[in-house]
């Protein structure tokens, strides 16, 4: 998933550089959402924060 996030960021920057595309914020936000999912999966809430989900 981290690779996918980085690929999304690469696509957004290449299209910004090549076509000055206005929509490049979309893949950036998608990469951040993927990052959020990775983050939530990485945190062991029950042991590190004392929260049982």
């Amino acid at each position: 998933m981290m690779t996918t996030a980085m690929l999304l960021l690469t696509v957004s920057c290449v299209f910004l550089w090549w076509h000055k595309a206005q929509w490049v914020w979309l893949p950036v936000m998608a990469a951040l959402v993927l990052g959020l999912i990775i983050f939530v999966n990485d945190v062991d809430f029950s042991t590190n924060l004392g929260i049982q989900l």
Partner: protein, 206 residues
């Protein structure tokens, strides 16, 4: 009526400098990664994602022109980055907490810092500082910018410089994507801080 004293040209130059600063930070992290043979952990890579998000927002300001939507990309990315960096800092700030048992401990060596220090601070502490500075800088720019004075023709030197800078950013992000693929593949990334590349694990069959 002028709303602020920061002209769009100056705004683009400042965004370009900020973007190049982030390119420098990412290249600096490569130096540490390869010289100390330490692969970045999941939280470290997430901070790079956030940092690249900030850089792409700044690049939008540089290439397309300053706009509140482009600053929005920077803001959302910097808030995400602060959350990740703060989480990692807190994990390593409390040495009397055993991550394995989830209990307090009297052993101060249970949760050592991750990675090397730069000027006396770990990279995740620097990350908190950088994202906070980005957040504050965007707020200050919103106060003093003058969006009404957008020029009909942009200076040619600025366009050339912008294209060069964003091209460099694209190369750095693409190299980061290749490195992340080599480290993690399409699965979870290793968190052991060693030289544990996925691509070499999978090629040796282990």
């Amino acid at each position: 009526m002028r709303e602020g004293f920061l002209s769009p040209e100056l705004e683009r130059v400042l965004n370009l400098l900020g973007m190049l600063g982030i390119v420098g930070v990412i290249l600096g992290s490569y130096v540490y990664q390869f010289s100390y043979r330490e692969l970045p952990c999941t939280l470290c890579l997430l901070q790079r994602v956030a940092m690249i998000g900030v850089a792409v927002g700044a690049a939008m300001n540089v290439m397309i022109g300053p706009d509140t939507r482009h600053y929005g990309v920077c803001l959302v990315s910097s808030v995400f980055g602060i959350a990740i960096a703060f989480r990692q800092s807190l994990l390593h700030m409390n040495p009397f907490f055993d991550k394995k048992t989830g209990q307090p401990t009297l052993e101060a060596t249970s949760n050592p810092p991750f990675g090397q220090e730069v000027f006396g601070l770990n990279l995740y502490i620097w990350s908190v500082i950088i994202f906070t500075v980005v957040f504050l800088a965007i707020g200050l720019v919103q106060l003093i910018r003058d969006p009404s004075s957008w020029p009909a023709r942009e200076p040619a030197w600025l366009s050339r410089l912008a294209s060069l800078g964003v091209g460099l950013l694209a190369i750095v992000i693409a190299s980061q994507a290749v490195l992340v693929f080599m480290e993690c593949g399409f699965g979870d990334c290793p968190n052991d801080g060693g030289w544990n590349w996925w691509i070499f694990r999978s090629s040796t069959g282990s």
